[in-house]
Amino acid sequence: MFAYIVRRSAYGAVVVMGVLAILFALFFLYASPQEIALRAVGEKAPQEVIDQWIENHGYNRPLDELLVDHYRRMLTFDFGRSDADDTPIIDRLREGAGPSLSLTLPLFVLGLVLGIGLSLFVAYFRGTYIDTAGVVLAVLGMSVSVLLYIIGGQFLIGKLLRWFPISGFDPSPDLILRFLALPILIATAEGLGGSLRFYRTVFIEETSRDYVRTARAKGCGDGRIMARHVLRNAMIPILTRVVVAIPFLFTGSLLLESFFGIPGLGSLMVDAIQGNDFATLRVMVFIGSLLFIFAQIATDVSYTLVDPRVRLE
């Protein structure tokens, strides 16, 4: 087990190097300093301003030096300054992580509980009208664009019904829920279709196994079969989907945060896109990948925890 974790982490480290190589190729080799500077200072800027910008941001050094610097800085989390407004990127990351987590964490838990609960319910009634209705609703829900969910939800709940403020954010404990309620509600509804369909397939595959028949034969109640036998045996596909989603809790949600004015990491990313801030973009992609690689390792290890048959050698 320990040897496996070490070996898996070593492979993860090699993959991190690969990700950094891709980032270097994209942001230093493909996009020339001239191009990046032009986008940052504007198309019509005089050449001296562009040259000055390139020098200030250190893009004028030879490529091999840039490559070494790129690896060294990313791996030591010394991210430097933003290309757009010269603030240290690490400060922006620290500021944004809190609001992002306060949005994504409840969203994650709510989505998970509702998704699994509803799918168990629908799978329990497989072959009946409830099941058919569930599947059709899930496909309908999946076919609507996220944009429409957000725009429609803001209009319906925020403007017509006036239940919650349309957008904004306030970290004080008695106000935060009022502002987060609407994005959480909308995003939960948006994700439900996809997770219902996924978990239902998983549960239905399990309910046709022999052990379910045996449990039923020995007189086990249906509710107990679903909750104790089916749910536990379906843990591997569930974990595969859930653990990999954890990194996105930190990087936040681009669309939700920017629509609802939540100053998290998703908003930071949107600002970077709109301001052609390549330095911040680079860091965000790297952080996202790093967390994602950790999550993939965690998924593999967690298989052994839920299923003693899985041996990692």
Binding site: V15, L23, L26, N276
Partner: protein, 343 residues
């Protein structure tokens, strides 16, 4: 070469190759049977998809009415190439500002319209007919799905099959590339690629191709690993058949069903991701995503302008829903591993 001539040629090539593919498929029992089952199970969804494809193709065929150099003193409409879809509408079908569906007067102010009562879905802020814009979006949506698949499928097939079939060093390298690309969250990679490559339909499709080929490649690799050990492949190898011939005659036909399944399942995801890119300001011009993005502030006007948002998202919803239904049927019919369910 003029843009519209290229577009005509591509449309022609698509029709010819689709006809060729259909003719080939009809000769095989498996594909004929699969086609029939899908048409029987999802007739409406299949019809909607075909309708969208027809609109997209008609919008790709364009020609110029008058003299191209304007020597005959032609108006703008006579010198500009117009597609078949454009020709359903009057040449200068514009108003000055918003007008509600089938209205006689402008929405704000009430000035009289040039074409009273004829804008079925109203007009947008610039006075363009919304129905016309929505129909033009069909071609963009199909382009997003089609062009990206043209990038994804060959890439995944070449890498997946060679990793699975040859194994060893090439498998290690390809697997490393796959796991590296797979380790970058796809939306972040997509955004980074579009930012670096620049805007434009080809760039966006290329970026979406790069972010979505890995999953398919993994499936192809797994299937090839299995096929390689089958008796008839072993027999072919024992008889001294060349690798190239084994790949083309024995491996490739046995992964074709995966190509079809992936194409249909990939499609809706791609069109929906483009909508997100449009919101971020890096989408494709004229797409439904962009229409939705432009319409998002109109709901806070007073009185509200709703027809823009509704037309674009309604069209998007219809296409995605139909493709999702057809995709499920395709997977059920072609993938032997899925449990048959009669929903």
């Amino acid at each position: 070469m003029e843009g519209y001539i290229f577009s005509n040629l591509v449309a022609l090539a698509l029709v010819v190759s689709a006809g060729f593919a259909l003719a080939t498929a009809r000769r095989s029992d498996l594909w004929r049977e699969a086609g029939r089952t899908i048409a029987r199970r999802r007739p409406i969804a299949l019809g909607v998809v075909l309708l969208f494809i027809a609109i997209g193709l008609l919008d790709s065929v364009a020609w110029v009415d008058g003299a191209k150099d304007g020597a005959s003193g032609g108006t703008l409409s006579e010198t500009q190439p117009r597609t078949v879809v454009d020709r359903f509408f009057p040449a200068d079908f514009k108003e000055r500002s918003y007008s509600a569906p089938l209205a006689d007067a402008e929405f704000y102010g009430g000035a009289s319209l040039r074409y009273p009562g004829s804008h079925l879905l109203g007009t947008d802020i610039l006075g363009r007919d919304v129905l016309h814009l929505t129909l033009k979006g069909v071609r963009i949506a199909l382009l997003i799905g089609g062009l990206t698949s043209l990038i994804v499928i060959p890439l995944a097939l070449v890498f997946g099959i060679s990793a699975g079939y040859f194994g060893g060093r090439s498998d290690d390298v390809i697997f490393f590339i796959m796991s590296t690309l797979n380790s970058i969250p796809s939306l972040l990679l997509l955004i980074a690629l579009v930012m670096v490559l620049g805007r434009g339909p080809v760039q966006v499709c290329f970026a979406m191709g790069v972010t979505s080929w890995v999953g398919f490649c993994r499936v192809v690799r797994g299937e090839t690993l299995k096929l390689r050990e089958l008796d008839y492949v072993q027999a072919a190898r024992a008889l001294g058949v060349s690798n190239a011939r084994i790949l083309v005659r024995h491996i490739l036909p046995n992964v074709t069903h995966l190509v079809v399944i992936t194409f249909v399942l990939l499609f809706s995801g791609l069109v929906l991701s483009e909508a997100i890119l449009s919101y971020l300001g890096i989408g494709i011009d004229g797409s439904w995503g962009q229409m939705i993005d432009q319409a998002r502030d109109e709901l806070s006007r007073d009185p509200i302008v709703w027809w823009n948002l509704l037309a674009a998202s309604g069209a998007l919803f219809c296409l995605i829903l139909a493709v999702n239904f057809v995709g499920d049927a395709v997977r059920d019919v072609l993938d032997p591993r899925t449990v048959r369910e009669d929903v």
